[in-house]
Symmetry: C2
Amino acid sequence: MRNIMHLTFGFFSCQSSKMTAKAEMEAEEGYISPPPTLPSTPCSIHLGVQAGSMRRGSDVLSTSRGTVRERGRNRSWLLSSIITVNVLILGIALVSGSVFNNVKINAINLQIFLIVLVILTTAWMLYYTIYTSREDHAVLYKDSHAGPVWLRGGLVLFGICSLIMDVFKIANYVGYLHCDSAVKIAFPVVQAVFILVQTYFLWLHAKDCVQLQRNITRCGLMLTLSTNLMLWMAAVTEESLHQTVVPPEDGNSTHSYDIRAPGGYSSCNCSHSACAVLEKAYYYLYPFNIEYSLFASAMAYVMWKNVGRLVDEHNHHSLHFRLKDVLVGPAVGLVMLVAGLGTFVIYKVDVEKGDPGKRDTVLMIHYVMNTVAVTLMSVSTVAGCGIYRLDQRDHVSGKNPTRSLDVGLLIGASFGQFTICYFTIVAVVATGAEGHLNALNLAVSLLTVIQLCLQNIFIIEGLHREPFHEDMHQASVFTNPYVLQAQAHRDIHNLPGTFMETKSSPALTVHSMHVAPSAPSGSPLPQRHRLTWKRRALKEICAFLLLCNILLWIMPAFGARPQFDNTIGAEFYEFTMWAAVVNIGLPFGIFYRMHSVASLFEVFLTS
Amino acid sequence: MRNIMHLTFGFFSCQSSKMTAKAEMEAEEGYISPPPTLPSTPCSIHLGVQAGSMRRGSDVLSTSRGTVRERGRNRSWLLSSIITVNVLILGIALVSGSVFNNVKINAINLQIFLIVLVILTTAWMLYYTIYTSREDHAVLYKDSHAGPVWLRGGLVLFGICSLIMDVFKIANYVGYLHCDSAVKIAFPVVQAVFILVQTYFLWLHAKDCVQLQRNITRCGLMLTLSTNLMLWMAAVTEESLHQTVVPPEDGNSTHSYDIRAPGGYSSCNCSHSACAVLEKAYYYLYPFNIEYSLFASAMAYVMWKNVGRLVDEHNHHSLHFRLKDVLVGPAVGLVMLVAGLGTFVIYKVDVEKGDPGKRDTVLMIHYVMNTVAVTLMSVSTVAGCGIYRLDQRDHVSGKNPTRSLDVGLLIGASFGQFTICYFTIVAVVATGAEGHLNALNLAVSLLTVIQLCLQNIFIIEGLHREPFHEDMHQASVFTNPYVLQAQAHRDIHNLPGTFMETKSSPALTVHSMHVAPSAPSGSPLPQRHRLTWKRRALKEICAFLLLCNILLWIMPAFGARPQFDNTIGAEFYEFTMWAAVVNIGLPFGIFYRMHSVASLFEVFLTS
């Protein structure tokens, strides 16, 4: 008893005595921090000596070091949360002030606040990049699930669009420089630098699990998150106000300045001729900037969650992408995609013309296209969920922060689409749903709600399943010869099949490990076919859903706004309210579709 | 190796074979569900037999049972979340519709929706109460931290006020029955029944950790949560609309009906004379109803989190409340409380009179009182945080869902106060902060923001410390005689103190276990004094903060609305916006103060 106690204590003090004082202060409970430079073998050599010398002082020390760890994490989490709360709520107050009282607080006050935030964040990101490039052991672990390629690719794409928007803004405001505030030029300049630095920073460091300077890093990441959310909020507000004054129908009155627009433009004329074109151009780029802020926020949040985390590397299954197994799903999906893009082009062209008669026709086509897509998706998702019920694959056990975060982001992002759908449903039902157009609008909204619920269930179920990892299962069977032998016995007794086939068939091996409890025995050969069929059906469904989600992503991302072209929402709610709902909900909807595509790809691989 | 494998597998299958099929389906990973009726000893007897018989079928079975557990939890969490999302977003759309388009959707549509929700929830709560009273093993564990007495007491208090409000509403609407919809009476009747059932349900079952019918219980609790949030949303909206039409200043025009008020009252006269009085009375009771919904939501959420949880009973420290240790804190706190209540009474009386000159004076007194309170609180909190830095007590390790929830609710509820403060700061700064009144308003808001940040840090730090539990520490020292002996040796060597004193002094024993790493050795007697001084100071600070929080709770809870009496907010933002901010933020602020009082009491006990 006494010996055991000493061994344990000795080991603890050995562990911590190898760490530098700085690392100790930052080390944390739960996310155990081993001394990375030194292997643990010297510790075990010291053990006997230390236990013999009976240094109770160091025992007590090791206990209080555990205390310091726990305290360090709590404190920096709390501090970074408090920073975020204060920045965000002050920002909301400023934005509300600039919307409701443009006389006392105008966009310039808000922009000065944003410039300060952006400069601070840029400075921190530069500091972090330089610091981690100099220190050898700053980043020892990388989370392979964080910052996947679709997220980083999207970030770069939207970043480029945002940069172009900033260039247009600068060129536009130069024309007003003789009669307007210089802050208006300063803001896009600072923002352009920020976007460059941030895209570089997130591209390089999105996967980092930071181990040094955790307090500073946590606060810095939360500052980055707050800044991006503030930029998002400011952009959404500006976009909504812009739409309130210049509704999409009268596309010719692009130069009618908003009274609420800062600086009182009405008495200020642009000094060069390109202003009207530039302004129209940069308003088209606003949605990309909004999306960029959302992407950067998500990545900063993931990085913040990963600070101090140790990732076990053995989780990396090398899953291969093979399309030859599937045929029907991708084929039908591609047909949907092509048809959808065709109707989207017709829609864009005809809506741009602004002829009300034609607009109703193209809206009808758009709704029909959406109804078909969403119905097929729902049906195939139900089929997929049914297969999951039959399928007896293991659920992934144990906590996985990245997976929880993925699920959280998926459900959170779906709120945007839910909100738009329910607002539409209420508006259409309350006005009586007269005419084909309203009936279709109602049908699309209802079906989309159902599709969102089903797709969330399908993706989350899929992400929580163990992958069909053939090599791994075979390996586990070979190391456990008893099971294999028993399996062989059963096979021989049940059916005159060859023993060799059992050994060479991974599908059968998998089956033997995950046999259904309701039917523990049976003839293996028919079951082998059923399993292959199940896996194939799941892959077909995933491929189909993936392509349909790409379609539903492209249409709003590239400017389809049936919510505004169909005037029922704007008439039912006041335009401001409706614009706010759509402008907040739609970017989340786009994010949701992109995230779904990525998650479905993962489910496709693991099925 | 082979034997070990079989033993493990055999144990698993034994565990699960004792469970009923139903319980298995509902059993979950993480929250391990042992067979409650049967002890585990028969399992160990079976072990040998089972290992000998080599039933590989049952091995496979036990694996897939683990799968079923994991799946069960995921599915019911997902399902209950989806229900909540759909109910809430549909509700938001209906509320927005009724606010922005009163012609097509009026309060009656919304009330029908609410009636349906309330009836469903009431039915489920009755079903749950009857089911659990009939089944013996439905609730085996109780979470002693859930549903503390302040929360249940507050629920009953606010529930009674809500019932009175409903009675007044019914009496009022009876007068309009000849020319208005009967739904208007149906809603308060149904709501009254709901409040009675819910208060009874939460009073009895708030601590339950449900083990049977988990899927249904999760969905039912989420339905309860959604219903309460919807009732809260509807009440906040109605209160805001009411204030928009009848601003507090002209108290004589109580009978001027809102155009937006449902049913077009303007052409409908009350048939009895008490209407005006009743209506005025029930609008005074609205804030209590809003608070009731928040309390019920918080309790339903805690119950939802506790479904399927197993609580280890050994965590129940019996901490005793003794006031004789502390003097200064409670004394100063009581002075503040009495002074604050005095100014509050003056404030209420003078504001009711409606004299603008007097209003400025009482507002000034109110602000000065708040400034003093908040400043003293901030200073003492800083002192408390300083003591925490000196104090080397252990941090509580391990996950505790109730503590995490407490912290989450504390931070979440503080958002309301933060929002009001920042909105005030922006408004006052933007208008130039001219005059004593504005300067004081700004000072109070700034200081409150600081105080909120500090108090959050102080409470969270305090909740994460191990309690100074004297018996427990002494017990652990006695079972570990080696440490005690060493301690005695050190004491004897260092100081000519008596050995008996060391043994009988809990403070010193505690100190010896948690000596500071920076000063591992030293004379124990002075340190004993220092420790007592630290503990006492912490208790004084907690007592003082507790009383001040009671003051800051009573003032808004019983009707102080300086946010409306000082017209700067309403003038700066539009009145609707300002009313929305205050009406949403203030109930959270009240909840925050009550929660702080409870948390500070806990910190007081553990210090």
